[in-house]
Amino acid sequence: MAIMLLQAIVCGLLNGGVYALISMGLALIFGVVKVVNFAHGEFLMLAMYITYWVFTRWGVDPHLSLFLCSGTLFFVGYVTQKLLIERTFNKPFEGELQIFVTVALSLAFINGMHMIGKADYRGINLSYASMALNIQSLTFNFLKAVSFFLALIVSYLIYLFLMKTDRGRAMRAVTENREAAALIGIDVNKNYCLAFGIGAGLTGIAGALLTPSFYVFPGVGLLFVLKAFVIIVLAGMGSVSGAFIAALIVGVLESLGGFLIGAAYTQMLIFAIFILSMLFRPNGLFRRRE
């Protein structure tokens, strides 16, 4: 029994790695541009389809196609910000408008993919997909472990980017105070587009890594997006590294909870924690300032 609990924690951490990549992208978008991006799940979905196609047609391993995915999704995110979200700025009901524009975008993506790809469930099978490291009778799935470490590395890279580079500092300035940043000559809109692009790109990586162990269909993004929102709220507005840790916490909670009290009650618990954390810890569980 104790072994099972430990295994549950291990699984939770590994799942958390996947959630982390998805959420870090959203954290950046939500943090910098302050948009509730309901179409975020569809960025994931697009990347998964690209990974699937590229694998089935030309046998390209997802760990290679993740570069293609991140690049493509960067472009998609950049364009979304430029053509859609920017149009909603300084209009009345701006916040609500943004929510609904992203909702409509999500619908368009899902149904567009439905037309192109049909609603069939697709999957890819890597020969080494179920390779696992067995340490002390605990199973560490290889693929998931790889995603975990990649998430860690990416998280650190983003941290470096935001802290040490000029562009990153500009982005942080825009996050803190849009007007002031504009006053010192920072191109706010460009930074927004970049943030959206990078955020989408991160999700693209997540999609590539998720494909071998999950299944692909037009609505797959919807399964992950709410969780991503819970995670970034727990992490605190815009905290990308916070999102990583919060993702791990949610992964473990989900796994342990599912094992102990059943999946349905665990989901309820997670949403309850979500609401409570917004009320009592609005800056996130860690109160870190990025």
Binding site: G123, S130, T139, K227, G257, A263
Partner: protein
């Protein structure tokens, strides 16, 4: 207020919008159809769309056969056609579309609907309007427990279908099992049947697992099962969850001797396409498979392959094909499109055997097919789906226990 779009453009658009507003009653004009048009309500979009697609194939093939053989002779050789309505996998849309079919397309009968949740609302509306509803696919028990006069169901119900999974495991000698079902109307009803049937056979259910629809991971459920160490597993899942579950079974090393899957999963060709080799040895409950030597089976398989040139026909097109053929026979007997005459003719149906192995005869009170009391079991063997149980339909012997994951 600065606008990026010119005023005249905005004006044009709002004029169009006003026209659209007037368009409310327009929706639903029918396209050209043949002599007898039957309402066909299926989920052509939404999560159930691929099943809807397979269902439609069964209907199309049946109608082609009927029309090829002269149509409904008692109606002057009238050919059958469909008015296709898309329920979008949503019960509210199913209801809407049924209203449309009855009021605007004025169909004399409606058939479909794939899922119980879609059928419940649609058939309630048909009953209100006294239009016969010929259900060929939804197995939810309660559908024939509502005392409806115009509702008929040709397929086996949940008790027969899910019960088969347990009967099968029992026949192979597995007494210690676990069950897994999702938290929806489908899973809850399946689970009830699993528990009851297992008790009847004196089997021990070591673990009852439930999970919310479409989770992102099954690891908690798999860990629970690992702890319980059942010999075999009876599952009620949709195909997407079945795919994820099997993948994670391998990832986490959960080994059982046999899996009997109901609803989605093994009986669905998509499952094998997505899983490849991983699908091997898993079993699914079906009502028909291409290798069954039942009445009309060869013809069905040949026509299907000729038209669709893909995988051989299985569960989903079959019950539609069989149900539609039966409906044509009823129309032939009724000699009319009048609702009450159709009901009368339907009650006289007495078919000894169909594609599925069981025949059709309706209980005069519930209008459920009392001959549909069982189903069959198929297994993936080396990438091919073969019937393995009951013996009289089996083309191959069942391979059990399944080899352990690490031995594959």
């Amino acid at each position: 207020m600065k606008d990026n779009i010119s005023v005249s453009k905005k004006l044009t658009i709002s004029v169009i919008v006003v026209i659209l507003l007037i368009g409310l009653p327009i929706g639903g004009l029918t396209k050209e159809v043949k002599d007898v048009k039957i309402g066909l309500l299926l989920p052509m979009t939404g999560p159930m769309s691929s099943l809807g697609e397979l269902n439609k194939r069964g209907f199309d093939l049946a109608v082609e056969k009927i029309n090829r053989e002269g149509g409904i002779k008692s109606l002057g050789g009238a050919k059958i056609g469909f008015v296709l309505a898309d329920s979008q996998s949503d019960p509210k849309v199913a209801a809407s579309e049924t209203e449309k079919l009855i009021a605007i397309s004025k169909v004399p009968i409606i058939t479909g609907s794939y899922a119980g949740s879609l059928c419940i609302t649609a058939s309630a509306i048909a009953e209100r309007h006294k239009i016969p509803y010929w259900e060929v696919s939804a197995i939810t028990d309660v559908l024939t427990e509502r005392g409806f006069k115009y509702f008929f169901r040709t397929i086996v119900n949940t008790t027969g279908y899910c019960g088969t999974a347990i009967d099968f495991l029992n026949a192979l000698g597995y007494k210690k099992i676990a069950t897994m079902a999702e938290d929806t109307i489908m899973g809850v009803t399946a689970n009830k049947v699993f528990q009851t049937r297992a008790k009847e056979h004196g089997m021990e259910v070591l673990q009852v697992v439930t999970f919310p629809h479409s989770p992102t991971t099954f690891n908690s459920e798999i860990l629970k099962l690992k702890l319980a160490k059942p010999q075999a597993l009876a599952v009620a899942q949709f195909t997407n969850d079945a795919i994820l579950f099997v993948k994670q079974m391998k990832e986490l090393g959960l080994n059982v001797d046999l899996i009997a899957g109901t609803y989605g999963g093994p009986s669905d060709p998509q499952y094998a396409k997505a899983l490849g080799e991983l699908a091997d040895y898993t079993c699914g409950v079906t009502v028909y498979n291409w290798d069954m030597q039942t009445k009309g089976s060869k013809e069905f398989v040949n026509n299907y392959l000729e038209k669709y040139q893909q995988e051989k026909p299985g569960l989903h097109p079959s019950y539609c094909y069989m149900g539609m053929l039966a409906l044509a026979e009823v129309l032939e007997r009724a000699g009319s499109l009048d609702a009450d005459k159709i009901v009368e003719a339907a009650l006289k149906t007495d078919i000894p055997e169909t594609l599925t192995g069981y025949g059709i005869k309706f209980d005069p009170k519930t209008h459920h097919n009392i001959r549909a009391t069982y189903a069959s079991v198929v297994q993936w063997q080396k990438g091919e789906l073969v019937t393995v149980w009951p013996e009289r339909f089996a083309s191959k012997k069942v391979i059990s226990p399944m080899p352990k994951w690490k031995d594959r």
